[in-house]
């Protein structure tokens, strides 16, 4: 079957059913997935590039009258495909809890304060080298009702498009050394330890701005078309 984008790398993904994450029990398909070839419908995709975003959209600390409370952070990285090619002019969307571990979302009823100066949503488009950058505050851990005394490790949600319907990715970025990793069924749903660790950003002094903010690097790898070389431009 024609698979323009090799499927081998997908074993990094979690299975649909991970019973420790209770919601997967009634929301994961039981029937086998139907393998389909990659047709025009899968090989094309929307482009929401630089023209879709405003430069201020990537600074989550400047969306209100004052500055949000919390530890100011810079999160930067590069989006490439599996073959190391930069994914250019691609939309990256992020959302997160505030420093106290509370989301603006109306359903979140965690007994922690909202911050009038923090919404927690941002977006940007990657540049010609696949680079992106956000300014934010470090999100707090928060409780959820999956099991007794369940707490999510601090994380930032990421949504990426890439260059086709097949490269779409929604994931979460975690922070180094979080003591909650071992107890979090969502993080632990990824069977391969190395793949799991790719969701943990790295503290970098080079990205850190003196007297201002800590810098974390989070590189993201989307599906690639295999190692066939492309002329510049034909991939984007």
């Amino acid at each position: 079957m024609t698979a323009t984008y090799p499927r081998a790398g997908l074993k990094a993904d979690p299975p649909s059913l991970h019973p420790d994450y209770a919601s997967t029990r009634t929301r994961s398909p039981k029937q086998p997935l139907v393998v389909i070839p990659h047709t025009l419908s899968e090989l094309t995709g929307p482009v929401y590039g630089q023209e879709s975003v405003l430069s201020g959209d990537s600074d989550l600390t400047k969306q209100h009258a004052g500055e949000p409370l919390g530890e100011r952070i810079i999160v930067s990285g590069r989006v490439t495909d599996e073959d190391g090619r930069p994914v250019r002019n691609a939309l990256v969307e992020v959302w997160q809890a505030n420093a106290a571990g509370r989301y603006v979302h109306e359903v979140d009823q965690h007994d922690a304060p909202l911050d009038p100066n923090f919404t927690g949503a941002g977006r940007c488009a990657t540049d010609a080298e696949g680079r992106y950058s956000f300014i934010s505050v470090k999100p707090g851990a928060y409780p959820w009702r999956n099991h007794h005394n369940a707490w999510r490790p601090a994380h930032i949600h990421f949504s990426l498009f890439g260059h086709s319907f097949l490269t779409r990715l929604v994931t979460q970025m975690y922070f180094p050394g979080d003591p909650l990793f071992a107890f979090d069924p969502i993080f632990q749903s990824i069977p391969d330890v190395k793949a799991r660790e790719r969701l943990i950003c790295k503290f970098e002094l080079d990205l850190t701005k003196p007297e201002w903010a800590l810098g974390y690097r989070f590189d993201i790898v989307l599906r690639g078309r295999g190692a066939t070389p492309f002329e510049d431009g034909s991939h984007g």
């Binding site: 398909p29 047709t39 094309t44 090619r85 979302h105 359903v107 919404t119 949503a121």
Partner: protein
């Protein structure tokens, strides 16, 4: 660079000539091009096989970022795909997202990707203005699990081996409890091309109906196609490995 090693190993093991050739290509340094110099001087980044970033659930709290009509952020992707230049019959597509117990999934994110009425996708890489047909839409399900899009009915698009694919919409389903995006399609009842569609042909006949939206009795100005998405259990929607 342990991950590089681990990815190379399986390619070598299979020892297919094509795979070996690909591996060799992957090792070659990046072709020189305008603008590359600046990046290389900062940090040498040669193309090399990399492990995919794994998927995680979208969780229950995406709305204020991804479907933020109710919130402060201006939405750039919405549930209305109709633009002034969109060619094709104006239609609505709607349905409910249901779990294994038939309960509504009230926190799902549904995304659709489709061609226009003439079967044309925007050219690869074209960053169209928001006034031009994008072919992409996004909707959050409501308390009843209901999602809805306003769009145009897509035309047939080319399939593999000179076949034609019947009009269809590609669909991503994301939600709390969905660890990786579910990929499905919406076809349209009564389309003569459905019988010859190369993708429907791969689906067991008994399950095809889970992909075909039924035309509802016209209640408003626009024709409406209805399809429920069942994540598990009786009448489970067909999802694809792609």
């Amino acid at each position: 660079m342990a991950e590089r090693k681990s990815r190379k190993a399986p390619a070598a093991k299979k020892a297919k000539p094509k795979a070996r050739a690909r591996a060799a290509v992957a090792k070659r340094p990046a072709p020189k091009r305008a603008g590359a110099k600046k990046a290389m001087s900062r940090k040498a980044v040669a193309p090399a096989a990399r492990g995919l970033t794994p998927s995680q659930t979208v969780g229950p709290y995406f709305a204020y970022a991804l479907t933020p009509a109710k919130y402060r952020l201006k939405p750039i992707i919405a549930d209305d795909l109709v633009t002034p230049d969109a060619e094709g019959e104006r239609i609505r597509i709607e349905g409910r997202v249901l779990d294994a117990d038939g309960k509504p999934v009230s926190d799902a994110l549904i995304e659709i990707w489709q061609a226009d009425g003439k079967g044309r996708y925007p050219a690869a890489g074209s960053a169209r203005s928001n006034a031009a047909f994008k072919g992409f839409g996004r909707a959050a399900s409501n308390g009843d699990g209901r999602y809805a899009f306003a769009t145009v009915k897509p035309g047939p698009v080319p399939g593999p081996n000179r076949t034609m694919q019947a009009p269809h919409v590609s669909v991503s389903v994301l939600a709390r409890g969905v660890l990786k995006r579910l990929h499905t399609r919406i076809y349209f009842d009564g389309e003569p091309g459905n019988a010859r569609d190369p993708i429907l042909a791969l689906v067991p006949a008994s399950r095809r109906a889970t992909l075909i939206a039924k035309r509802a009795e016209a209640t408003g100005a626009m024709p409406c196609y209805v399809l429920d998405i069942r994540l598990q259990g009786s009448g489970e929607t067909v999802f694809f490995a792609s």
